[in-house]
């Protein structure tokens, strides 16, 4: 394949990776920014979103699009509710102690993963895309659904940004992020904010899972890769910075797409990890993170 089309395909693939990554990492970054909780179970919320999409799609009758739209609503809500429960039952009782919550979310990771294995089974199940539309370029064909994923992720991230910047709930969350004690003395129910934030973060991961599942398949082990990449994105972008997360997701996604095509996927992972090391050494707060 000639260089031009090759690069185009690499960039398109990279954009899809970046879009899904941005959604998943935004949730992780939000949870860390507001709650100072490093959620190791974040990838499992992503996996649960994909699994629930399969469940919803197999229950809802009619064309695939109906089931898919239902999954887009139901899966994030259910996963968010589960996360809220986990917050109330586990994280709150640990007083959001950074070390304790890391260990607790590791436990949560295994509980969710093994519960899924027990209830859903070890198989990878496909979910039909809401529409079958293929773009035929002169050099190669491309899935129209993948481009839809990029668009959908963009819309969701824009909505999240508006929510954080333009609504009262967003203002309260930002206030809690800046100073939890002062926020509380101003009458903000910090516990409720934390619960909502954890649910929102998990919901975003679940939404990413629903979007990816027609491209991949729903399987209980699928939470591992996005977790690692989300951490990479969040560390580079700066924990708690939505803008940093988006930019880092684009950098990682596009470099992953192009490097894995022109060289090897392993090299892409090596470079991404090296980038993390460099950021941690020279700019520990991340590209856009506030100094702690």
């Amino acid at each position: 394949m000639a260089f031009g089309p090759f690069l185009l395909l690499a960039l398109m693939e990279g954009l899809v990776t970046a879009a899904v990554l941005a959604l998943a990492a935004a949730g992780l970054s939000l949870v860390f920014g507001v709650m100072r909780v490093v959620n190791v179970a974040h990838g499992e919320f992503y996996m649960l979103g994909a699994i629930l999409a399969w469940v919803v799609a197999s229950v809802v009758p009619g064309p695939p699009a109906v089931g898919f739209v239902a999954a887009l609503v139901i899966a994030p809500v259910l996963v968010g509710a589960l996360a809220a429960a986990a917050d109330g039952l586990i994280l709150k009782r640990l007083h959001y102690d950074p070390e304790a919550t890391i260990v607790a979310t590791i436990g949560l990771l295994y509980m969710i993963q093994q519960a899924t294995l027990s209830l859903y089974g070890p198989n990878a199940n496909p979910v039909p895309a809401p529409f079958e539309w293929r773009i035929q370029l002169p050099w190669f064909g491309y899935s129209g659904y993948k481009l839809f994923v990029v668009l959908a992720a963009g819309v969701v991230l824009l909505a999240l940004w508006i929510f954080m910047r333009r609504t009262k709930a967003g203002l309260i969350m930002r206030a809690t992020q800046v100073d939890r004690t002062t926020a509380r003395s101003f009458g903000i129910n910090v516990d409720l904010v934390y619960m909502g934030t954890f649910a929102l973060g998990a919901g975003l991961a679940a939404l990413a899972g629903v979007l990816i599942v027609p491209i991949q398949q729903a399987q209980y082990l699928m939470g591992g890769d996005p977790l690692l990449l989300s951490f990479i994105v969040v560390i580079i972008g700066g924990l708690g910075s939505l803008r940093g997360t988006l930019i880092a997701a684009l950098v990682i996604g596009l470099s992953d797409g192009t490097i894995s095509m022109f060289f090897t996927p392993t090299l892409a992972k090596i470079i991404a990890t090296l980038l993390v090391a460099m950021v941690l050494v020279f700019r520990p707060q991340g590209l856009f993170g506030a100094r702690a």
Partner: protein
């Protein structure tokens, strides 16, 4: 106070001795009646090989029922102890260990993924327990394993590939690009197909290795050279459906090469899945035809009924649950091979394990029958590997239709090892 433990009375000693004798003799007596033969089964119940594990378990259970209904092995009932290896090479040897040492299995049946088999076989050798694998890989016949490891239920990949190459070069094209998983099984494909094509005057112009845990494939596809005449693909793992779908998206409605795939790329996947229309007219290797051929053997129906598979290769209870039909027969045939080996060697217990291996090595012709629903086979005692016939199917109307069957001679190659000269 007298301590009877330190200073026992004569009566106490006699009674204790008598009780001891009784307890020692009792299980021997009961055992002579009905002690079951225990076959350990290292199973991919979870992990990336789970779809194979699901069907391996069902097929083994069906064969077990048939064996027990027919009087078991040498009159003894048989039980299978399944143990999950998570399709994980690290867990493989632990499972062999547990099945042998803790569960007291007489022999251990192995699993599919070649990385797990290669990791587990040395432990079986150390424990001196027969390890009968159902994995296709060339690792048994290549000589890298040991005298305790055998593959009596499925032809190895080297022979399968050797049998395919003449047909591919004569009917599909000479310039081949290969896509294969980047581990032992895929490397067998790479090495032997490349050599077999060269022997046919063809050429492999690209070798594209993909990690077996990969979930996204489009990024690898531009490496396929434009002048490719035949795209040879073999993929494994939970993402095989994604692989074929992305292959279809990549070529779309544009010009595309001929596709020749190992059915592994589509095991447990419905060929009529939306997005796979592009496979119409393409060819696949199959060991055992998923869709029942019109001229299927006389035992095909009984086998399908026993394992619960309909004429399209799906579960009779769920049409969406597609069998791993070209691999699962190996567990059935291996169980019957174990039965034959144990009965020939007069196997009575773990002390006879060596005799069992020697009896297996003495096997040669294995005729077609309900014991071997995939077809007649020849076992090579020196290489511990069985050989049979292969099929080439074409997707016609969304279904796999057999268009060619190879002979056993097509897949023949010279012995690389003589395990019978190795020490136990």
């Amino acid at each position: 106070m007298t301590n009877t433990l330190l200073h026992p009375t004569r009566r106490g000693l006699l009674m204790a001795g008598g009780a001891g004798l009784l307890t020692a003799a009792l299980p021997g007596y009961v055992g002579a009646q009905a002690a079951p033969i225990k076959i350990g089964f290292q199973l991919h119940r979870t992990g990336i090989g789970a779809s194979y594990g699901r069907w391996y378990e069902r097929t083994a259970q069906a064969a077990l029922k048939l064996i027990n209904d027919g009087g078991g092995i040498a009159g003894r009932p048989v039980e299978i102890l399944f143990e999950d290896d998570g399709t994980d090479p690290k867990r493989g040897p632990e499972v062999v260990d547990k099945l042998t040492q803790s569960d007291g299995s007489d022999v251990v049946m192995g699993t599919l993924f070649s990385n797990v088999v290669i990791a587990s076989a040395p432990r079986a050798g150390e424990l001196k327990v027969p390890y009968l694998v159902c994995s296709e890989g060339y690792h048994v016949a290549s000589g890298i394993l040991n005298r305790w490891t055998m593959q009596p239920g499925i032809t190895d990949v080297r022979s399968q590939i050797t049998a395919m190459a003449p047909w591919v070069s004569a009917n599909l094209g000479k310039k081949v690009a290969m896509i294969f998983p980047d581990f032992a099984f895929g490397h067998d494909h790479r090495d032997f197909f490349t050599a077999a094509m060269a022997a046919q005057g063809g050429e492999v112009i690209a070798q594209i290795a993909i990690p077996p845990t990969e979930t996204s494939f489009t990024r690898y596809l531009p490496q396929i050279p434009a002048e490719t005449e035949v795209l040879y693909h073999v993929m494994v793992g939970p993402a095989v459906l994604t692989f074929v779908k992305e292959l279809g998206e990549f070529y779309g409605t544009g010009a595309k090469p001929q596709f020749f795939g190992f059915i592994d790329s589509l095991e447990a996947v419905d060929t009529a899945t939306p997005g796979l229309e592009f496979l119409e007219g393409s060819h696949f290797w199959e060991a055992h035809n998923r869709v029942k051929p019109a001229d299927a053997g006389e035992h095909e129906d009984a086998y399908r009924a026993a394992v619960g598979v309909d004429d399209n290769g799906a579960s009779v209870s769920d049409a969406a649950d597609i069998a791993t039909y070209s691999h699962m027969f190996s567990t059935w045939e291996t169980l019957f091979a174990i039965k034959a080996g144990m009965e020939a060697s007069g196997y009575t217990g773990p002390a006879d394990r060596q005799k069992f291996v020697e009896a297996m090595e003495a096997m040669t012709d294995l005729p077609y029958g309900i014991e071997r629903p995939q077809g007649a086979k020849v076992f090579n005692g020196k290489t511990h590997q069985v050989f049979g016939t292969q099929n080439i199917s074409q997707v016609q109307g969304g279904k796999l239709v057999r268009v060619h069957q190879t002979s056993m001679a097509d897949g023949a190659y010279g012995d690389a090892v003589d395990y019978t000269t190795m020490a136990f």
